[in-house]
Structures are given as C-alpha cells and as structure tokens.
C-alpha cells in the first residue's frame, strides 16, 4: 500500500510562496516522476511529502490517513538522497541496518533483511567496507538498500543519479526501473532530466515555479502537451515553436513541430533555410537551421547520415498531422 494524496498543499519560505495550492494523487504502485527546470519546486514538493519540510497550508494523506503533522519517521516512507547521505563511519552492513536498529528489531531479523537486500543489490561482497571505499554506483546501491530494508509504503528519490557519470546513469536507471517492477511499491522520483522522466515513469508530473503544468503518462505528454511549456520541455531535442504569420495560417498564436516530424526534402519544401551546425550521430543527424524566417533557429532530425554541410540550403516540409497548435495564452488548441 502506498497511495499519497496532496490536497491544496502550499509552501512558503517567509513571504515567498514557492508552491501555490496544489492537488495531486499518486496511486499505489505507481512510478511517478516530478520533472521541471531547476528551482521549480520539485525537490521541495518531495521534501514536503517526506515530512522534512512542514507544509504551510493544506493536507497530505498517505493511504487515506492524514499525515500532515506526522513526523518523517512515522510516515512509512524511505528516501534516497542526491548525495546518498550514507553514514561515513559505519560499514555498509551497519548503514543498511541502521533504520532497523532504530526500529529496535531483533538482531536475527536485521541480519536476514540486510543480507536479503544486499543480495538483491549485488552488495554481498561489500558489506564490511566503509562507504568511502565504494564507487559512486555502489554507494547509490547502498542508499537504495538502506531504503528497501524498511519495506516502506513508498520510496522517494531526490535526483539520485545526478552524481553519476553518463554510462553508469543509464545502468542505474535500468536497475531502479527493474527494482520497481520487482517490488511493485510506489516510487516518487525527482529529476530535471526529461530523458530519465520519459524512460522510467508511469506518470510524469511537469512542474514550473511550483505549479503543476501537466500530469500524464510519458506518451500522453509527448503527443498532447497541454501548453507551450510542456511542449518545449518534454522531448529531445526540443520542439520548434513558431509564432507569427506561419502560425496564423493554422489559426493559432503559436505552432509547434517536433524535430522528428519535419522531413528534409530535395526541393520545393514548405520552408527553407541554411544549415548551421550539423550533429552527426550515425543513426540520426540533427541540423540546426538558420534564416528560415520563422524562428531564430530550428532543429530538424533526419534519419541516417544526410550529407548536407554547413551553409547549404535545406528544404523542409512539416508533417501536417503532427503540428501542435497553441493559443495566445500558450494553451493547446484541440
């Protein structure tokens, strides 16, 4: 069980309201990702759920019970921190056992659970080492181990992969996803990386300045972004947003086309421009295009290796069915 419900939750630091009234339900067993640019309040929101910050007004319910004034330890949640927050003077075994020791569990049960967690996380050989003797990925796993031994109602992750290098990050991403499948426990995950959000989430919550911009599955957000912010934030490379005359042709204030939904054609394209930087990835080529008369730069994805060079003229045709339209307030026009 691990349903978390936020009702009209607000948070102010002094006079500054960082989270205006906010409602959100996280269902049992769901992998929910909070994503947004830095400073959007996603970490604050997670800390409010954890109980490490007091909410200013509103209610938090965990499994239908009011948890607003419950201390962090009694909420039945476990958290993995960005810095891992391992206890440096304790061995891996003692680190993982710490929450159980605090709960005054008997030693035999502690050993059983610690060894179980270590086996799941491939830490058995490292149980007697200190955190300082482990690599970044191993420390990460110890932090997760310390969370899972408690068998919490939900896991909270605060940007857990941001201190790892790119290759390790991809690996840990998979491990966390697999752990979620195995445990089927609610997980709330904070990140600023939309790739992590897209690949891991059952449900993405896009935040900006403490306000929820959109909630939905990764593909919902990709296919039908509710406004220009979500449209620009979800998807990589970013969606091209075009205003002015071209948008007016589609009866909209702004239109958006994803780089992968524009075709490069030999001639007579609907739009044309000069090629700026071309990023050749082998499987794809990303062109940054100038002088289209539509927006400053436009990004286009071509499949495979297309031999256009810097300064060449490029002809483009957007796929009409894939054009997103937004009104003057930035909201999607159905």
């Amino acid at each position: 069980m691990g349903q978390i419900q936020l009702k009209q939750v607000t948070k102010s630091f002094g006079d500054v309201q960082v989270i205006p009234p906010l409602d959100l339900t996280i269902h049992d067993g769901e992998f929910t990702v909070f994503v947004g640019p830095s400073g959007c309040g996603k970490s604050t929101l997670l800390r409010l759920i954890a109980g490490l910050e007091d909410i200013t007004t509103g209610h938090i319910e965990i499994d239908g019970k009011d948890a607003t004034d419950v201390v962090p330890a009694k909420r039945g949640l476990a958290m993995v921190f960005q810095s891992y927050a391992l206890y440096p003077h304790m061995s891996v075994r003692k680190n993982i056992a710490f929450p159980l020791r605090m709960a005054k569990m008997d030693q035999a049960e502690i050993n059983k659970r610690v060894e179980g967690a270590a086996a799941v996380l491939n830490l058995t050989d490292y149980l007697d080492r200190r955190p300082g003797q482990l690599s970044g990925g191993q420390r990460q796993r110890v932090a997760i181990g310390r969370a899972i031994v408690r068998e919490p109602a939900a896991f909270l992750f605060d940007e857990p992969l941001s201190n790892l290098d790119a290759a390790l990050r991809v690996g840990m991403r998979m491990e966390i996803s697999e752990l979620h499948k195995k445990l089927a426990t609610t997980m709330v995950y904070v990140t600023h990386d939309q790739v992590e959000a897209m690949t891991m989430a059952d449900k993405i919550v896009v935040l900006q300045a403490g306000v929820i911009e959109q909630v939905g599955s990764p593909l919902e957000l990709y296919r039908t972004p509710r406004n220009t912010f979500v449209a620009g934030f979800i998807g990589s490379p970013k969606m091209n947003l075009i205003t002015g005359e071209e948008a007016a042709k589609h009866n909209a204030h702004t239109i958006g086309v994803r780089p992968e939904h524009i075709d490069v054609v030999e001639s007579d394209g609907q739009w044309q421009g000069t090629v700026g930087v071309a990023e050749h990835l082998g499987s794809d080529t990303f062109f940054h295009i100038h002088n289209t008369g539509l927006s400053d730069t436009m990004t286009v994805r071509a499949i495979g290796d297309v031999s256009l060079r810097h300064g060449d003229t490029i002809h483009l045709t957007p796929r009409a069915a894939e054009i997103h339209r937004f009104d003057a307030d930035g909201l999607r026009i159905a």
């Binding site: 490490l52 962090p72 330890a73 927050a85 206890y87 003077h89 710490f98 929450p99």
Partner: protein, 292 residues
C-alpha cells in the same frame, strides 16, 4: 617536488627554520639534562664559570622521594583531566547551539571567542579579585543575596576554582574547532537519519558525535600539551597552596624559591617523561580516529 633540483632547493630553503628550531629546542634541553646531574645552588656560590660538581642521579632520587612529588602528579592529572572534560563537553554543546541560525550570529561568535584573547595572568586576576573574592567578589554578593554563606573559593575549593578558570579560557578554543567540524556535517545525513527513525538524541549519538571524533581528538591533543604547563593561573591565585601544586609549579618552586637549579632540572626531565607518556596514551586511545 618532482625533480632533484627542486628537492635540494626545498631543503636549502627549509634549512634556516630547521636549524633555528633545533637550536631553540636542543640547547635548553641539553642544558636541562646537564644541570639535572649537577649540584647547582647559585646562593651557595655555584656557577657555570667555576664549574659544577657532578652528582649523578641524586637530584632525580631527591625529587621523586620528596613528599610533594606524587601529590603534584595527581594534581596535574586532575587539573588537565578536569579542564579537558569540561571544555569538550561544554564545547560540543556550545558548538551545536552556535550552529543554529539566529539573529546576531556573527557578534555572538566573536563574543564566544573573546576569553581566548585575554592573557592568562589577567584573566586569573579578574577571576580572583572580581568574581571569587570572598568579601567583594560577585559570587559572594550572589551567595549573600540568597542568604548563603559566601564561599572562600580559592581556599576551600582551590583546585576546582583553578579548573574553572582554565576551562573558561580554553572553552572558546574547543568550541571554535568543534563548531567548524559541526558545520562541515552534511545536513542530508541528519535528514536521512531522521527518515530512518532516529530521534534527536540518537541522531546526536550515531551521526553527530562520530562526525566530531576527529575534531575532539585534535582538541584533546592540543589542549593537553598546553594544559600540562599551566602556570600563571596558579601563580596569581593560590601560589601553589591548598593542593594546587602541579608538577610545573613544583619545578618552579624548586628552582626559584629553593634556588636549587639541579633539583628543578631533574623535575623538568620528569615532566618531559610525563608529557610523553600522556601523549603516547592519547595517541593510542584516540589515534584510531585520525587514520580513517
């Protein structure tokens, strides 16, 4: 220091400091050793020019068989131990208090450090005459205000009084070092412990205290070195009377009051040995904290 040239250049540049330090240390040390084996009573006409009589180990046996030797060792250990206990315990508490965000933090921190800048002689005089004086001291006024009989601090509780004075002087040092150590503690560790179900006292015991172990070690080591040679506070307040004669003070009395330089030098050598024993013990006990 990669190349041969830079290594020899480094040695050349360090040489003056090394020579100076060695001279500063070795010359007095060797002179002390020499005097300790001679009969050197300046009032009876002994002097270096006329040559001193070699007496072997008789100064050593006389110093140790004196009735005031063992009590002085005991006094020294009580004084050092008492001051260490008070400064470390109060230092940890004060450091945690000062770590809390509060109005006027900068000023408060400077005020806390202030006692460290007061010269030992001056602070001992202030304590003796303004605070602990049985007639006019602030304490005696306080005691009388509550209808109690004023305490003659430096006579009836002489050793504790001196421990109090010295602790007051060294508390800022301990607080300062422990404060910087506390500030380097990652707040996420405390939050993680909080989530793990550790109440405040257990967070202190399992997270804060182990984090401070290294800083506490350093405070104990440095303070012990300085506390073994406490002098001004005793000289100004009790003059070594009422059971406040430490080893340092006993040596001073042998040399200056009894004008027996040989006997005092033998005591000095004992003091060196005592300091080393204490240092080795401390390193053994707390040294483990330094290598991890």
């Amino acid at each position: 220091m990669a190349t041969k040239a830079s290594r020899s250049a480094a040695r050349m540049m360090m040489a003056p400091a090394v020579v100076l330090l060695l001279g500063w240390m070795l010359v007095p040390l060797i002179m002390t050793l020499w005097f300790s084996f001679t009969k050197y009573l300046p009032l009876r006409g002994d002097s270096i020019e006329r040559g001193l009589d070699w007496v072997g180990f008789s100064n050593y046996s006389r110093f140790i068989s004196s009735s005031s030797f063992w009590p002085s060792i005991q006094t020294t250990l009580i004084m050092v131990g008492g001051v260490l206990l008070i400064t470390v315990v109060l230092g940890i508490l004060l450091a945690m208090l000062l770590d809390q965000p509060m109005w006027g933090q900068g000023v408060v921190r400077i005020l806390v450090i202030a006692p460290f800048f007061v010269m030992p002689t001056v602070s001992a005089l202030v304590w003796k005459n303004m605070l602990m004086d049985p007639v006019n001291g602030i304490f005696s006024h306080l005691w009388r205000f509550f209808g109690a009989e004023p305490v003659a601090w430096l006579q009836d509780a002489s050793l504790s009084s001196i421990v109090l004075i010295v602790s007051w002087q060294w508390l800022p040092f301990a607080t300062l070092i422990l404060l910087t150590a506390i500030q380097s503690l990652d707040s996420e560790q405390l939050e993680a412990a909080e989530m793990d179900g550790a109440p405040a006292l257990k967070r202190f015991w399992f997270i804060v205290l182990p984090h401070l172990a290294r800083a506490i070690t350093i405070v104990i080591l440095i303070q012990t070195i300085f506390l073994l040679s406490i002098f001004a506070e005793i000289f100004v307040t009790t003059g070594g009377a009422f059971g406040t004669r430490t080893l340092t003070y006993l040596i001073f009395q042998r040399v200056i009051d009894s004008q027996n330089i040989g006997l005092g030098s033998a005591g000095g050598v004992y003091a060196i040995i005592l300091a080393n024993i204490v240092a080795i013990f401390l390193m053994r006990i707390v040294g483990k904290n330094l290598d991890t």
